[in-house]
């Protein structure tokens, strides 16, 4: 069916969520879903401490963002996220774009691009 629906999946810094939300609203893709995740990438491990003993944690707190778009070009969304989530330090995160086969809006029953 609708080959022109895409899901943008981004892993970003929790502190950047608010700016990313603003950025997405500006490009006309305000709808999104966020999840607390932990991730490992190029960001160096951090140290935790318990009763003065240090240990290392290589999973950093991140926020996962899922936005599905149909009318808005995926590239706009990718750019908006890239810009808002950028700091330049390791750990900024990644964005992946996945094709969506079909979409349904539960409330209205609409399907395809209209549903997004």
């Amino acid at each position: 069916m609708a080959a022109d629906i895409q899901m943008i999946v981004a892993f970003i810094r929790p502190g950047k969520l608010s700016e990313v939300k603003k950025g997405l609203a500006e490009v006309g893709a305000p709808s999104l879903t966020v999840t607390n995740v932990r991730g490992r990438g190029s960001q160096p491990v951090k140290k935790g401490q318990w009763r003065g003993e240090e240990y290392v944690v290589d999973l950093h707190e991140k926020v996962k963002l899922e936005t599905v778009v149909a009318d808005v070009p995926a590239d706009d969304v990718v750019d908006a996220i890239s810009e808002a989530a950028h700091t330049g330090d390791p750990g900024d995160g990644k964005i992946f774009v996945v094709d969506v086969d079909d979409a349904v809006q539960i409330r209205t029953g609409k399907r395809g691009p209209d549903a997004v």
Binding site: P14, L17, K22, P30, S31, V34
Partner: protein
């Protein structure tokens, strides 16, 4: 040089008794924090703030109601039911410092009874209606119970024995809770259409256990504190121990009964599921404490252990019965305070080391239990029935599903719960009249 008679026994008695009154009152007051944690732990996180608000305001409105009105009601009821003349019922309002100390001890007791109710009707009772009922507990329900008994009314004249309030405080509170839970009805998702009870776990066992241990701590003030007079001045004018002659017995029985109650409840779990249940064990500890209230001053330690053990066991069984008849007593307040309280008063003639068993006393105890329970049941039925009729008893179905914190308070108990970094940072302060704005448009 010091002359004679300079240590007046009355002065020693007054001062030391006051020290003890203050200590005991403070401990009983702290039971409030115990109820707060115990109940908060047993509700879902969506209803915790509501439960805590009820807890704080129970003291807030209740202690004023008891002090201003309740004390007078108690005196009047005592007079009326014992045939003596009513004299200056509101005299306590200007009774003076030392008398106020004792009145405050009574007020702390009244608020134990009131606090019990909120656990039964948790997760669906409206805050407003609940507070109206709390005023009633402080101003009327509890005072009538004390007027009839300790105040010297009808049951007191009859020889009814309830040392520290197993029935006057706990059973009355437990029955109020039970009936209120019945009138308010079960939580939306508690019973299936065919009456099968669903299990709705609370959100935090540590809170429930901490609350239990705070209550146990305060209970030393409740029970030993009921032995309120350290000293008395004898008719011959000498200083002598007063209630303290038996306070050590009260103390050891209070300490031991916790063990018996918790072991009783733990064993039921072990036998039934092969596992010891934490909350049940904690509930059993409290039921043990309730069950010693009537008998603490007169029972042997061995008899105390037996009664406490039975109290622990019955918690589980009575709770089962409630579920079977469709009553949703969220925090198991009836098994813990109601039936365990009745058990305690009933046990008096059997375990009294000061008097041989007599059917007469047993009869009196039964009369007392029935009268007090009936009073609590009927007045609650009327009062909560009225609240129900006014639409003040219960929140809407939608509000209940969403949680009382959101619907009644607009609050999240744990604003970051499971969402560190997502919703934890709050947002712009919102002018209460303006339209809601957000940090990024919505479509």
């Amino acid at each position: 040089m010091t002359g004679l008679l300079q240590v007046d026994p009355g002065v020693v008695a007054e001062g030391v008794n006051l020290v003890w009154v203050f200590v005991a009152t403070t401990l009983v007051f702290f039971m409030h924090a115990g109820f707060g944690m115990l109940e908060s732990g047993q509700v879902r996180s969506k209803n915790v703030a509501n439960q805590l608000t009820k807890n704080v305001l129970t003291w807030g409105v209740g202690v004023i109601a008891y002090f201003v009105v309740g004390v007078a009601v108690s005196a009047v009821v005592a007079s009326l039911t014992s045939g003596s003349a009513i004299t200056a019922p509101f005299g306590h309002l200007s009774a003076g410092s030392t008398a106020w100390a004792s009145i405050l001890f009574g007020a702390a007791f009244s608020m134990v009874a009131a606090s019990i109710v909120s656990g039964a009707v948790a997760e669906r009772a409206q805050l407003g209606g609940y507070l109206v009922f709390t005023v009633l507990v402080g101003a009327l329900i509890y005072p009538v119970a004390t007027g009839l008994t300790w105040g010297g009314g009808f049951l007191g004249q009859l020889g009814y024995i309830d040392f520290a309030g197993a029935t006057v405080v706990h059973m009355v509170g437990g029955v109020c809770g039970l009936v209120a839970a019945y009138v308010v009805g079960p939580r939306v998702d508690k019973f299936d259409d065919d009456g099968t009870a669903n299990v709705i776990p609370g959100h935090s066992l540590p809170y429930a256990v901490l609350g239990t241990l705070i209550l146990a701590f305060g209970w030393y003030g409740f029970n030993i504190g009921t032995a309120i007079n350290v000293f008395q001045v004898t008719d011959a004018g000498a200083l002598a121990l007063a209630d303290y002659a038996y306070a050590g017995r009260v103390a050891i029985n209070t300490a031991l009964v916790m063990g018996a109650g918790s072991i009783g409840a733990a064993l039921v779990g072990l036998v039934r599921q092969g596992k010891v249940d934490t909350l049940m064990t904690a509930n059993g500890l409290l039921a043990g404490l309730v069950s010693v209230c009537s008998i603490a001053a007169v029972a042997s330690w061995a008899a105390t252990l037996v009664v406490g053990f039975i109290a622990g066991v019955q918690v589980v069984l009575v709770f089962d019965v409630l579920e079977r008849v469709g009553i949703d007593d969220v925090c198991a307040v009836f098994p813990v305070h109601g039936s365990a309280g009745a058990l305690s008063a009933l046990a008096v003639p059997f375990v009294n080391t000061n008097a041989a068993f007599s059917f007469g006393q047993l009869g009196i105890q039964i009369v007392g239990i029935v009268v007090l329970a009936a009073w609590a049941a009927v007045i609650t039925l009327v009062a909560y029935g009225l609240l129900e009729a006014l639409g003040w008893a219960r929140v809407d179905r939608e509000e209940e599903l969403e949680g009382l914190d959101a619907s009644e308070h607009g609050i999240e108990t744990y604003p970051e719960f499971g969402d560190r970094g997502i919703a934890g940072t709050g947002g712009s302060r919102q002018p209460s009249d303006g339209p809601a704005v957000t940090d990024g448009g919505d479509d």
